[in-house]
């Protein structure tokens, strides 16, 4: 089995691992690094549960090989909360608005919305819906997720003003 | 999906019949087909290569005369193959029936093709797969007609396009498949060729055939 040594920084921590070249980034994060917060729902790039940020942009980690992430900076759901465990505004908003039920699509939703809110501090409901249109959720009907994203945007704007 | 063809060859039924039930002779008429082993006079092994955009499949399997009626001049061939890389299978039941007509012999070919496994689920390719199957059969029938015709006029190398139920294509096709109805042995039949042989009614028929339940 063809393998390569992969150096990657995930949520600020540097890792070096040997992995089969055919290993997807999703499986590498989950099984080589034990970061199982990133979920795998379809393995053909439709459900969005495996969405992570690669060098700052949202990416489906089932449609990228781990070896392609060599020397890349990855951000996953495990990296969203503060070191002291304080939830990020987006995570808190998900909790306040019941933006998750089974929690399986949640990591992908959070990472996708993290990118959206970084680009657009004041998204409309339609913009939020379009942003997550590539993330499937079977539980919530999306309504509470959209509400959470809009609340988080508000919180972050407030903090921006005060801070 | 069932695909029907018929054509007339300038040969008496008895002569046409001899050629028709000779698998080694008619095998090359199947685009992309290759006869690899003759098990007995009734059954054979072979491959059919099909290229579907980026996906190249080689169906490897057997063809067998299940019924041969030398009196009534009709025969049924059952062919079954699976992709050598495990991406599914295809099977075809082909019935030939010869009947005498003033110009010679009318050959009726009825082919029932079914796909299985991954190839049957190839979402973006489903439409094309069906059209391609139709094209394979039409080219097979066309080539068969040509070959039988050549029994009568061995000098004639190419089929008489006019007699073929084929529509011109919107874009020009590469030369390799322009001679789509000579011997195709081994050469993969690609969806490119489809562009100039896709037949409206054949495709829509297919769609009736493959309507979901």
């Amino acid at each position: 089995m063809k393998t390569r040594t992969i150096n990657v920084t995930v949520n600020g921590t540097a890792y070096t691992r040997e992995a089969a070249v055919r290993t997807t980034l999703a499986d590498f994060l989950r099984h080589s690094l034990g970061l199982t917060g990133t979920h795998v729902g379809c393995e053909h790039g439709v459900c969005g549960a495996c969405t992570v940020l690669v060098d700052g942009v949202s990416t489906r980690s089932c449609l990228m090989l781990a070896v392609q992430a060599h020397n890349a900076k990855i951000e996953t759901v495990e990296g969203l909360a503060a070191a002291d465990g304080t939830l990020a505004p987006l995570q808190q908003a998900f909790r306040d608005n019941h933006g998750l039920q089974c929690g399986f699509c949640t990591p992908g939703m959070l990472m996708t919305l993290t990118e959206l809110l970084a680009e657009n501090a004041d998204p409309s409901e339609q913009e939020v819906r379009e942003a997550i249109s590539g993330n499937l959720c079977r539980c919530t009907g999306y309504q509470s997720i959209v509400a959470a994203a809009l609340q988080a945007a508000g919180t972050m704007r407030e903090r921006g003003k005060s801070g | 999906m069932e695909i029907k063809n018929n054509f007339v060859v300038p040969l008496p039924p008895d002569e046409a019949w001899k050629v028709l039930i000779n698998i080694p002779r008619i095998a090359p008429c199947m685009p992309g087909a290759e006869l690899t082993k003759i098990i007995d006079e009734r059954s054979f092994k072979g491959n059919v290569a099909v290229k579907l955009g980026p996906v190249a499949l080689v169906f490897s399997g057997t063809a067998k005369f299940e019924e041969v009626d030398d009196q009534a001049h009709c025969a049924r061939v059952k062919a079954q193959g699976s992709d050598t890389k495990g991406r599914g299978g295809a099977s075809a039941a082909v019935s030939f029936a010869l009947s005498a007509v003033p110009e010679g012999t009318r050959v009726d070919v009825v082919t029932d093709i079914s796909l299985s496994g991954m190839v049957a689920q190839y979402g973006r390719g489903i439409g094309i797969i069906q059209a391609l199957a139709t094209q394979l059969v039409n080219q097979f029938a066309a080539a068969l007609r040509t070959m039988l015709a050549q029994e009568d006029a061995p000098t004639r190398r190419f089929p008489d396009r006019a007699t073929m139920d084929i529509r011109a294509a919107p874009i020009s096709a590469p030369a390799e498949s322009a001679t789509g109805f000579q011997s195709h042995a081994g050469k993969p039949i690609s969806a490119i060729a489809l562009l100039f042989t896709a037949i409206w009614n054949a495709i829509t028929n297919l769609f009736k055939g493959r309507r979901t339940t």
Partner: protein, 778 residues
């Protein structure tokens, strides 16, 4: 006045899930685990002539390739028993663990490959050569019932699994007295559960090789536990089944599957830890599907559109096997009359096998089809008689003064079908007002003038919830004063732990955060049924409520004994028992420590040891939740495309324990129903090859396909359980497809379009519109 019941308590589950610390089956790490892949049938019906795994066996990292005969030595039967049946009998319709003679649907498991990694297992799977002899395929349930057709499986004499008639009253008389009779043929498609987490199972072989610990993404850990005990001939103390975090159930995880037997059997055989995680394509080819039913319905009404009788025939497509006792068509047939008074009723039901994926519950379990059939008929009556669709319904709804209302039908348990409570008339009236039903015709006229086709639709529904016979709960106060709740109910994403913690904390006067709920672990909960039929809050919730009450009484009694103060002057407060109006108190922690007993110390008189109580609250009756949905749509007639403009949903699910969780269940359920109405279609070709085996082909509803939903809640407490609750898990789904397509039909009324199927794709609507135009011109 309650502190926690009816409050939007943030979910206890969220803390871990939001930071990526959930623990789903594929997240659990075992050392030395091997990975599984299944070789599955590529034919819908064929005889297996040979299975050649020689090449595969020689491939790198392959540990074993097992067929049915390889597993025979560790199995008591080659096929599964009928799930959750009291008679654990195998029968000629239950699935095989592995099939090596005759496959009956595409996806049926044939061989199990065990390798160092899933990728290598798949390499070998594609190298296993299976020689099939194709057999005739049965694809259409309606044709399957004819006697002369091909048989789905050679072992069967007929494709008809079951025939029965559900009904009451003098149906012939009803139709002879009718002022009008209308009829229709209705087809509802086959769809999938499609939890975003697929199925999966992890098996650890404990030292000694005879003890198994099984983690499965199932709604039914106890059922799996009992099934494995039987199938693997294990002592019950040698196996433990745990449901870890579940990434959605929606019905399909209610069944016990061949993979859930094959993997533990292989683990026992090889003495190795094994993991199998279903991939999405497998999920489309092997997880149960639902809704495939063909209805032929006749409705008889009097001159005022009051229903006199309904009769018809229901053909239910059961697929190739029957994993569970067939409940769906029975649910459908008995649920059709819903919230309406139907004096006479007769439905002939035929359950037929086909060469398709086996059928069992998907969110709604037969109820959505029933609601769709009934509501379509109500619209038909209204349209044909030129009456308002809501008015026709109003005239036929069961009025509140008739509650409790006994339907002349029996529930599956054999108990009478008694609607316990609810005001259906008021529910509909309130929804009509909220949705602006009255002024819609004016808006529709105005829109039409601009060439826009908008429509409004309505559907009512009733859902029997809280199916028994019981659910278990043990409430225990630990040495540190924290509270544990153990239950046989299963947390599969709906927030069960939070709801049960609220109920428990309410009685013990502690905070919900101090309560830990341990659900779905057979080692700590001897009895349990699991998650299905919108039952868990009602059944487990009632048991938790009673158990917590009993523990509270015990705490007061113990404190009274220790403090030598009368119980009446004591109260529970914030983890302590306090003297009312005084400052003396004793903490629950101290009480728990004393009540555990200590050698050599006298035990408080007339008290039983331990600060815990176990309750299995039993019920035969169902608590009936009701709903009224009104949808507003616009149809683009050039494309046949539907846009849902507005959606108002009223639900009466009895007392709401956590309105936030209820809202999530309802909205999620509605969107599932919208998927059934407009998007989701599990396609098969004419040889029963599945066509939609990816999420690119099988269309789930996305965030851009739905509007913001408006919900209204009525709270009519159920008198039949101690917490007054009714289930909500499926309620949102049941009327949704009917409401949406009622609106679509209304929008296309200028073309005289009638909709009698789900789903309706843009192309189907486009064709209906063209046909309507043609009728108009001819």
């Amino acid at each position: 006045m309650s502190r926690l019941i009816g409050k939007k308590v943030p979910r206890l589950e969220d803390a871990a899930l939001l930071i990526g610390k959930g623990r789903y089956v594929d997240d659990i790490r075992l050392h030395d685990v091997l990975h599984c892949a299944f070789v599955r049938s590529t034919m819908a019906h064929a005889r297996i002539l040979s299975i050649d795994s020689e090449v595969a066996r020689r491939m790198p990292a392959i540990h074993a390739i097992l067929t049915a005969s390889d597993l025979a030595s560790v199995l008591t039967s080659p096929r599964l028993p009928l799930g959750t049946s009291t008679t654990k009998a195998q029968n000629s319709s239950t699935p095989f663990v592995l099939q090596q003679k005759e496959v009956a649907y595409v996806g049926e498991p044939i061989a199990l490959i065990i390798a160092d990694s899933r990728a290598e297992a798949e390499d070998a799977a594609s190298a296993v050569q299976i020689d099939y002899e194709p057999l005739p395929v049965v694809i259409d349930a309606r044709r399957a019932v004819d006697n002369d057709v091909d048989i789905v499986r050679a072992e069967l004499k007929t494709n008809v699994l079951n025939r029965f008639t559900v009904g009451y009253g003098d149906i012939a008389d009803a139709f002879s007295r009718a002022a009008h009779v209308f009829s229709d043929d209705i087809w509802q498609h086959r769809g999938c559960g499609d939890s975003i987490e697929t199925r999966g199972i992890l098996v650890e072989v404990r030292p000694g090789g005879h003890e198994l610990c099984v983690w499965s993404s199932t709604q039914m850990p106890h059922d799996l536990y009992y099934t494995l005990i039987g199938m693997l001939d294990l002592d019950e103390n040698r196996i433990r089944v745990i449901t870890p975090d579940v990434g959605g159930g929606f019905g399909p995880k209610y069944c016990i599957y061949p993979e859930e037997i094959a993997v533990p059997a292989a683990a026992k055989l090889l003495g190795r830890n094994l993991k199998w995680i279903e991939d999405r394509r497998e999920n489309f080819m092997s997880a149960v599907q639902e809704r495939d039913q063909y209805w032929t319905v006749e409705i008889a009404v009097d001159a005022e559109a009051r229903i006199l009788g309904i009769r018809g025939r229901l053909v239910h497509d059961q697929g190739a096997y029957t994993p569970k006792a067939v409940n769906l068509p029975y649910n459908s047939a008995t649920a059709m009359t819903g919230p309406y008074i139907v004096p006479a009723y007769s439905m002939d039901v035929v359950v037929a096998h086909t060469n398709k994926v086996p059928v069992s519950s998907v969110r709604g379990a037969g109820y959505p089809q029933a609601a769709f059939a009934m509501e379509r008929m109500m619209d038909l009556v209204a349209v044909k008689l030129g009456l308002d669709r809501a008015e026709v319904r109003r005239r036929n709804l069961i009025p509140p003064e008739k509650m409790p209302y006994t339907k002349q039908l029996k529930a599956r348990s054999g108990a009478a079908m008694v609607y316990d409570s609810g005001d259906y008339v008021a529910s509909q009236a309130e929804t009509l007002t909220a949705a602006g039903w009255e002024d819609f015709p004016a808006r529709q006229k105005a829109a039409l003038a601009e060439g826009r086709y908008i429509g409004i639709g309505i559907a009512n529904a009733v859902k029997g919830t809280g199916r028994g016979p019981f659910e278990s709960a043990t409430v225990r106060i630990a040495q540190n004063g924290k509270v544990s709740v153990f239950t046989g109910a299963v947390a599969m994403g709906q927030g069960l732990a939070t709801a049960l913690a609220q109920i428990c904390a309410e009685e013990l006067s502690v905070s919900a955060e101090d309560v830990t709920v341990i659900a779905g672990d057979t080692a700590v909960t001897p009895l349990g049924l699991g998650g299905f039929a919108s039952r868990q809050l009602v059944t487990a919730g009632s048991s938790v409520h009673l158990a917590a009450k009993s523990v509270a009484r015990k705490a007061l009694k113990a404190a009274s004994n220790l403090l030598e103060i009368a119980e009446e002057s004591l109260e529970l407060d914030d983890g302590h028992v306090r003297v009312k109006g005084g400052n003396r108190s004793i903490s629950l922690a101290e009480l728990a420590q004393i009540m555990r007993g200590a050698p050599g110390f006298a035990f408080p008189a007339d008290l039983e040891p331990g600060m815990e109580t176990s309750i299995q609250w039993k019920t035969e009756a169902l608590a009936y939740a009701n709903a009224c949905h009104i949808a507003e749509v616009e149809v683009n007639i050039e494309l046949g495309n539907v846009t849902i403009k507005r959606y108002v949903a009223l639900h009466d699910s009895g007392r709401l324990i956590n309105p936030m969780i209820v809202e999530g269940q309802i909205v999620g359920g509605i969107v599932h129903g919208i998927g059934n109405a407009l998007f989701e279609f599990m396609g098969y070709d004419e040889t029963a090859q599945p066509l939609t085996t990816t999420l690119q082909e099988y269309l789930l509803v996305t965030a851009t396909d739905v509007p913001r939903f408006e919900t209204i809640y009525r709270e009519t407490p159920s008198p039949i359980n101690p917490i007054g609750a009714k289930g909500v898990g499926e309620a949102g789904t049941i009327p949704a497809a009917a409401a949406v397509l009622s609106a679509v039909e209304n929008a296309l009324s200028p073309f005289g379009v009638r909709i009698s199927r789900t789903p309706v794709t843009p192309e189907i609507l486009f064709d209906l519109i063209q046909a309507g135009k043609a009728r108009a011109t001819s």
